[in-house]
Amino acid sequence: MEIKILGGGCARCERLERLALEAAAEAGVEATFTKVKEMDAIMGYDVMSTPALVIDEEVKSSGRLPRKEEIAEWIRAAQGT
């Protein structure tokens, strides 16, 4: 599974990454984490604001920090399909 964090390295983006790492660990899912910092690459996704979370190329959240349980839920769902 591929998890991407979109955002230019602000405090919220780092926190989102930490949350996603923890959520993946809790769900027991192997995932690769990528940080996307370039504005052009970020604009390639359908997001308005950062930080955004992308799981297997699908935008799950943007402009807010989802809860850890929410992220774990998305990870499990993506794993199931």
Partner: protein, 460 residues
């Protein structure tokens, strides 16, 4: 004057600005403003605003929404650029994006309330109104200049699904904002109902008068330079602020992982400080020989009653109407702003205070003492080439004001400084290209100069 005396004077003016700023300005204005900024960032889903910025939104909605969006969304500069880029590329186009870029940094709640308290409500209001009007004006002009580009660009990029997402701000969040805004307004508005003392009592003690005399000797007030001096009340409040800083460090740094005992201590101290700051406290240095009373006269003001009521309501809502997770997010965002901004502000205020003793008033008076085109242009250019971190432009402006700058050029400077800095020009350049950036910079320069000129002419 020898060198040592000169250094002493410099340090004294720096220190007096800093203490006056901490005791008088931070408390009732910046403390609530930080809480509001945190709440805007944590509790308002961005989609609530951005749904009005989609490609199909009519002009009369998208431009005002961009201006308003600046107010709500742009409390953190790291959110401005992605939003600007996406409004431009996928949403309403170049015009509204420019409006957003222009209005965003100028009308954030921290900057406005700080300007109002330190420099004057007239400038703060002018800053809001003129930046919204001119932001929309510049956006429309840019859209018109580059109308062909925009059409080509529209055809080339895919439609923005991101803008269609719906999200609502729940009713309780609005009420919460109203309460927080109430705390800010009640603390800073200078009207009789709020500032009048409804009851006064005196704490006896001869120390108060002599302590005040000592404070006046350490930090002498100097009305000519706009230096306020420090009161006994101020010292108490600065002490409380230091306690808040320590307990907040322990209690709020990890608030995203849950509350701890220090969180409550820190929040309790914030409440206490706001309450203490609302009393009217004056040291009376009566002479004991004729038996007049000495001590601290303490007045129960209308402000105090309003603040206690509003803060109690904020506590109640936070405890009963919101989930713990929302409150954690709110406090985390708030603390992040504080950590980001306060250190810069403390250094900036100190240096701006020192500058008051360094720069001869005649310079400022010759350059910008009157409301002329050149004076306003000088204000704008100074704003462009000197880059000050967020909010530091306000103490700088106050220094200029006390040195004799006219309020017109002062407004021109205050409008241009956050909008146009070498740094923001470079970033804008990377999003919309060199030609459009150049036109934007020229338009902002013209409009800011014009704004200062019009404002200065009105208040003549």
């Amino acid at each position: 004057m020898n060198a040592l005396e000169y250094v002493t004077i410099l340090l004294q003016t720096g220190l007096s600005s800093l203490t006056a700023y901490l005791a008088a300005h931070v408390l009732l204005c910046l403390l609530p403003a930080f809480f509001i900024a945190g709440a805007l960032s944590a509790l308002v889903p961005k989609e609530a605003i951005t749904k009005y910025l989609g490609r199909d939104a009519p002009k009369w909605i998208s431009y005002p929404a961009s201006a308003l969006g600046g107010f709500v969304l742009a409390v953190c500069s790291c959110t401005i650029m992605p939003l600007f880029a996406s409004i431009h590329r996928k949403g309403a186009g170049l015009g509204p994006a420019i409006t957003f870029l222009f209005v965003g940094p100028a009308v954030n709640i921290l900057a406005i309330s700080f300007t109002g308290v330190q420099i004057g409500m007239d400038i703060a209001l002018a800053r809001i109104v003129l930046s919204i009007v001119f932001g929309i004006g510049i956006g429309l002009l840019m859209a018109w200049f580059f109308r062909q580009d925009d059409e080509a660009h529209n055809a080339a990029t895919n439609g923005g699904g991101a803008f269609a997402r719906e999200d609502k701000v729940p009713g309780r969040t609005w009420v919460f904002f109203a309460l927080l805004l109430g705390v800010l307004i009640a603390g800073t508005l200078q009207v009789g109902v709020l500032t009048r003392s409804y009851a006064t009592f005196t704490l006896p003690g001869s120390w108060a008068g002599s302590f005040q005399a000592w404070l006046d000797s350490v930090v002498p007030p100097n009305p000519a330079l706009g230096i306020e001096g420090v009161s006994v009340h101020g010292v108490l409040l600065i002490g409380l602020l230091i306690l808040i800083a320590v307990t907040a460090w322990l209690g709020l740094n990890k608030v995203d992982e849950g509350f701890n005992g220090w969180t409550y201590v820190a929040l309790g101290l914030v409440t206490l400080t706001l309450v203490v700051a609302s009393f009217k406290v004056v040291a009376i240095a009566g002479s004991p020989s004729i038996g007049s009373r000495q001590g601290l006269s303490v007045g129960v003001t209308g402000k105090l009653i309003a603040e206690i009521t509003l803060i109690a309501a904020v506590w109640w809502m936070a405890a009963r109407r919101f989930e713990a997770y929302d409150i954690q997010e709110w406090l985390w965002e708030m603390w992040r702003f504080v950590k980001q901004i306060i250190p810069l502000l403390v250094v900036g205020v100190f240096l701006a205070g020192m500058a008051r003793a360094l720069i001869p008033a005649t310079w400022i008076e010759t350059l910008a003492g009157r409301n002329t085109v050149w004076a306003n242009l000088a204000g704008v250019l100074f704003g462009v080439f000197m880059y000050f971190p967020t909010l530091v432009e306000v103490p700088i402006a106050q220094t200029f004001l006390s040195l004799g700058m006219h309020r017109g050029p002062l407004l021109a400077y205050l409008l241009a400084d956050p909008e146009l800095s070498v740094q923001s020009i470079l970033i804008t350049n990377s999003v919309i290209g060199r030609k459009k950036t150049a036109v934007y910079v020229v338009l902002v320069t013209i409009f800011s100069t014009l704004a200062g000129l019009i404002f200065g002419w009105f208040i003549r």
